[in-house]
């Protein structure tokens, strides 16, 4: 308790229980202001949730559209793939055109061939079947379906490597109608990351400049480890959309020293977050190496924390979430961050790639921490390393 002068005591005693009735319309104004503020609108994290659900649903139901070898291309198993299609550099491919005529072009051959694409992805039409394949001018939905069934029974159908889908665009004239619709590939990433975090605190008002300076001086470099699972779909041309879930655990060691206090104290703080990424990617192949640019956003949800820090008032605040009465500043705190990375991958097996993705991520100030007197600006930098697995062989959107 502060030593009080009689004057202080006089004011405190007389005013602490004194009441002044507010104006009649104050309650109405509060209701009005809250109604405006809470007018129905989607929460800012809704796009992540909607996209994740849509993506998961799409991938789940697209199983019906996946070109699984065991059901659709049993005939392929009768002969090795290289017997279905053996590229020859001087061979000529009769190329169908809509007029019904055929022209012969020097055949460009995709550098890698295997059985990882759907049978429709590329084929060498025999003379007997060429008319059936090329006469697409009057194709209806039913005939498309019928054509697809026929294609799967072609004896000389082969497939192209899905890891180089953009290469297929040069064969678009060869592809049947269904293939000219967007072909999508579903992939799943398993990634681990070591992250380095740099944070700076600034006061929302000049009143808290001293407090932010104190915190900035006390808080050191933080390190975190993350594990992420991302699912995504991508097009032949390398455009993709990925979402999933990421768990991160950030560690921080603080030596807390309050001004005028004789002793400091060391606190080891940890913060655990669950993040939902939503990332747009564009990838390109360079030989076996596949490189891409990833841009997107993260929804950050801090769900568990342990440790302590100093409040603006200078008292030591315990914020361990499991302790009763812990300071709720970070409890279920939502935030968002911007993400950019460069993905690099090389194939290491059937539909499996090893990948590395250096990245930077910057936290957008949390919208749910209006009461917090400081604005936290956080930069993350790190390197994701892991594997990417293609699911199935590709699918058309329904």
């Amino acid at each position: 308790m502060n030593p009080k002068s009689p004057l202080d005591e006089l004011f405190r005693r007389k005013l602490s229980h004194y009441e002044v009735p507010p104006s009649d319309d104050l309650w109405d104004n509060i209701q009005l202001a809250r109604a405006k503020k809470t007018s129905p609108r989607l929460p800012f994290w809704a796009p992540w949730l909607i996209t994740s659900v849509c993506l998961s649903t799409l991938i789940y139901f697209s199983q019906d559209f996946l070109f699984l070898e065991q059901t659709e291309s049993t005939s392929l198993e009768e002969k090795p793939i290289h017997e279905h299609f053996t590229p020859k550099t001087d061979s000529k491919i009769p190329t169908p055109i809509l007029s019904g005529k055929t022209r012969t072009l020097p055949k460009k051959v995709a550098p890698i061939f295997n059985n990882s694409l759907p049978p429709q992805a590329a084929f060498i039409p025999s003379n007997d079947n060429i008319e059936q394949v090329t006469n697409t001018t009057n194709i209806t939905d039913q005939t498309v379906q019928a054509s697809e069934n026929n294609f799967t029974s072609f004896p000389n159908i082969t497939t192209l490597d899905a890891t180089l889908p953009h290469e297929l665009s040069m064969y678009s004239e060869l592809l049947p109608v269904p293939f000219k619709k967007k072909l999508w590939f579903a992939k799943i990433d398993f990634l681990l990351s070591q992250d380095f975090i740099n944070s700076s605190l600034t006061a929302k008002t000049p009143l808290f400049d001293a407090y932010s300076a104190l915190r900035n001086n006390q808080e050191d470099l933080k390190v975190s480890n993350s594990f992420a699972v991302r699912m995504g779909i991508s097009t032949l041309k390398g455009w993709g959309l990925r979402s999933g879930i990421q768990y991160s655990r950030m560690s921080q060691t603080l030596t807390l020293t309050i001004p005028d206090a004789s002793n400091g104290r060391t606190s080891k703080n940890t913060f655990e977050t669950i993040d939902i990424p939503l990332i747009l990617t564009k990838e390109q192949s360079f030989g076996k190496l596949r490189a891409g640019l990833s841009l997107g956003t993260y929804l950050n949800m801090a769900f568990n924390q342990k440790g302590s820090f100093y409040s603006p008032g200078g008292t030591l605040i315990e914020f361990t979430s499991s302790k009763p009465g812990a300071y709720p500043a970070f409890k279920n705190r939502l935030g968002a961050s911007l993400y950019s990375g460069i993905s690099l991958s090389i194939p290491i097996g059937n539909s499996l790639e090893f990948m590395a993705e250096p990245y930077v991520r910057s936290r957008i100030p949390s919208i749910s921490a209006e009461d917090y007197v400081l604005e936290q600006k956080i930069w993350y930098g790190g390197l994701f390393i892991g594997f990417r697995k293609q699911i199935g062989k590709g699918f058309y959107l329904p």
């Binding site: 004057l7 202080d8 005013l15 004194y18 009735p21 008002t205 001293a210 008292t315 209006e370």
Partner: protein
């Protein structure tokens, strides 16, 4: 019934539960029960009533929006008072603390002796007016130290000023209040 009859013995716990459910009846009951006391808090920090009501409105919006952050450690009133004070502090210009009032001597010792009896005869409304007439810096520090009970170290950290500035502003505030009270009594005589 438009809102809960707050004259009835509705416990704070019941109000808290209702507010946690975002039940408007209970929110209004909380407003009716505490708005008068909280308006006095905002009046102490504001320069005039209109500003005080703006502060109180913002504070109540924050209270109802973040009711789930009330931990129940202290009283509901104490928690709401802190929010009103924090809301008031948000609107304060730091420059207020550099304004010096010419004519008031700054000394380490301030009036700590017994007050003349005339002081205790002052009504609450008069005391409130005296506080409101103080310059911004004096008013804030006096409120935080004398009435809210913050230490100079805490005020220093909260306001981003030196502790010596806080002490100096307090001494000046007390001197100004005393001189104003004595002046008003002279005029009354």
């Amino acid at each position: 019934m438009r809102y809960l009859n707050i004259a009835s013995p509705v416990e704070d716990n019941e109000l808290i539960q209702g507010c946690l459910r975002q039940d408007r009846k209970y929110q209004e009951a909380v407003f009716r029960r505490y708005a008068g006391k909280l308006l006095v808090v905002s009046l102490r920090y504001a320069r005039h009533r209109m500003e005080a009501e703006d502060i109180l409105q913002d504070a109540f919006i924050r209270i109802f929006d973040h009711f789930d952050q009330f931990q129940g450690k202290g009283s509901l009133e104490g928690w709401m008072r802190r929010i009103v004070v924090n809301t008031a502090l948000k609107n304060i210009d730091k420059k207020s603390f550099s304004n010096e009032i010419i004519g008031l001597e700054t000394t380490a010792e301030d009036a700590s002796g017994a007050l003349p009896s005339v002081f205790s005869q002052l009504h609450e409304e008069e005391l409130l007016q005296l506080i409101q007439q103080l310059p911004d810096g004096y008013r804030i520090v006096f409120n935080m130290y004398a009435i809210e009970g913050y230490s100079h170290a805490e005020i220093s950290a909260l306001l981003g000023i030196q502790e010596s500035t806080s002490r100096s502003q307090l001494v000046k505030a007390r001197k100004m209040l005393q001189s104003q009270i004595l002046e008003s009594q002279k005029l009354a005589v």
